[in-house]
């Protein structure tokens, strides 16, 4: 897989790498047993500092998604399933209903986006505190 860094994003570069691996897992581009590119490969192909790549891989290891095998590289350990399909379908239905209600209340896509974002940020803040 190839990593890219969005330098205008406020997200630290190592977290961007973490997010890209998680995304690849979620989309099934990476499956358990796959090897992540070596630190050297990532450095050469995406112009990212080796410390940044190591930090990202450590973070992924801590969350149990990958494991470093001495001398042979970093391997995907767990799949990042999107959860129980039934639960996902139920959540989607309820969310679709909510979006319909929001539209009826006169909110456009941007308004909805802002609202969802504010709720998500609130959740993050509470999680920390």
């Amino acid at each position: 897989m190839e990593f890219r860094i969005d330098r205008a994003s406020g997200l630290p570069a190592y977290l961007q790498l973490v997010r890209q691996v998680r995304e690849a897992l979620r989309l099934g581009w990476l499956v358990p047993g796959d090897r992540l590119p070596t630190v050297r490969d990532v450095v050469a192909s995406s112009g990212v500092n080796a410390n940044t790549v190591l930090k990202a891989y450590r973070e992924l290891e801590l969350s149990g998604l990958v494991e470093a095998r001495q001398g042979s590289g970093t391997f995907v350990k767990a799949a990042l399933g999107s959860g129980d399909p039934e639960v996902m379908a139920a959540l989607r239905t309820r969310f679709a209903e909510w979006v319909r209600a929001a539209r009826e209340a006169g909110l456009d896509t941007e308004d909805i986006d802002a609202l969802v974002r504010s709720v998500l940020t609130e959740g993050e803040g509470e999680a920390v505190a």
Binding site: I5, D6, R7, A8, S9, G10, L11, P12, A13, Y14, Q16, V39, R40, V43, A44, S45, S46, G47, V48, N49, A50, N51, T52, K55, T121, E122, E124, G125, E126, V128, A129
Partner: protein
């Protein structure tokens, strides 16, 4: 008053300065400069024109004698100055031969690999090479000397965008392979994300901020909301802007405290390196005079 530039082998630190100062006649170009750069880091040295970046690098390289304080660097230091010096009548191959003779440690393969990578003709006189190609010869010479600490003054200036990206990637590959420490000065702050992992910010010859880049940025946040004289959370205001009925604050959050939750009409977004540097430079523009 001590004026020492010494080389000491320390495994953990690549550079350490204490109370470092350099004066040109009566004007201090560098003052009270104290920082520690851990080994293996890629540090960006950032600051406005005349902030003292080149002076600091020249002192660390041993080319200038400090007027006060100490600077300690570990191992071998290589320094490529802003004008990327080469001998006009020497070919790239001659320059490498010179490097081999003048350095106690020399890695010909590494130096040649750099030139090959950037397709620099080995036999042509350097004076006949383009500015960008001359820069590559100067880089190859520095890389060939296998430095412990590599200092580059504006390495990316005068390079086209593609070459900038390639030089950066190649440089980081060398860092990964050799474990050397890099200190590079630059104005192209927007291109540093993921490249540098350490920041040294100079203003008016003084060190304004220094430390791990991610940690530094994580301690800051940008709030935008209705016009207000005070920010919506506790912290040190780095920059405040008021336009019409909207206010923007760049805040340094207090250490060791959970991230505040800001409700109501305020929005928050993470601070990019560019946000941070621009705010700091703007704040110090009329600040402490030299």
């Amino acid at each position: 008053m001590t004026t020492v530039v010494e080389s000491v082998d320390t495994t953990a630190l690549a550079v350490r300065t204490q109370g470092l100062g350099k004066r040109y006649r009566t004007k201090w170009a560098l003052r009270d400069c104290a920082f520690e750069l851990p080994a293996g880091r890629v540090a960006a040295l950032v600051g406005a024109n005349g902030a003292g970046k080149t002076t600091l690098m020249s002192v660390l390289a041993g080319l200038l004698k400090p007027d006060e304080g100490t600077a300690v660097t570990s191992g071998r230091v290589a320094f490529v100055s802003q004008d990327k010096p080469v001998y006009r009548h020497f070919s790239a191959a001659d320059m490498l031969r010179m490097g081999a003779r003048l350095n106690t440690v020399w890695d010909q393969t590494r130096a040649e690999r750099w030139l090959e990578r950037f397709e620099i003709p080995l036999g042509k006189a350097c004076g006949k090479l383009s500015g960008g190609q001359q820069a590559q010869v100067a880089f190859a010479l520095a890389i060939g000397s296998r430095p412990t600490v590599l200092m580059l003054d504006e390495p990316l200036a005068n390079l086209d965008p593609l070459a900038r990206r390639e030089v950066t990637a190649e440089l980081l590959t060398e860092v990964e392979e050799t474990g050397m420490t890099v200190l590079l000065s630059t104005h192209v702050v927007a291109e540093l994300g993921g490249v540098a992992d350490y920041l040294l910010l100079l203003a008016h010859g003084r060190l304004l901020a220094g430390g791990d880049l991610d940690e530094l940025l994580a301690r800051h946040v940008l709030y935008t909301g209705p016009k207000s004289d005070v920010p919506p959370a506790l912290g040190t205001v780095v920059e405040a802007r008021h336009r019409g009925n909207q206010s923007t604050f760049l805040l340094e959050l207090p250490e060791d405290q959970p991230r505040p939750v800001v409700a109501g009409q305020w929005t928050e977004r993470p601070v990019t390196l560019e946000d941070y540097v621009l705010a700091q430079l703007a704040a110090t523009r009329k600040g402490i005079g030299a």
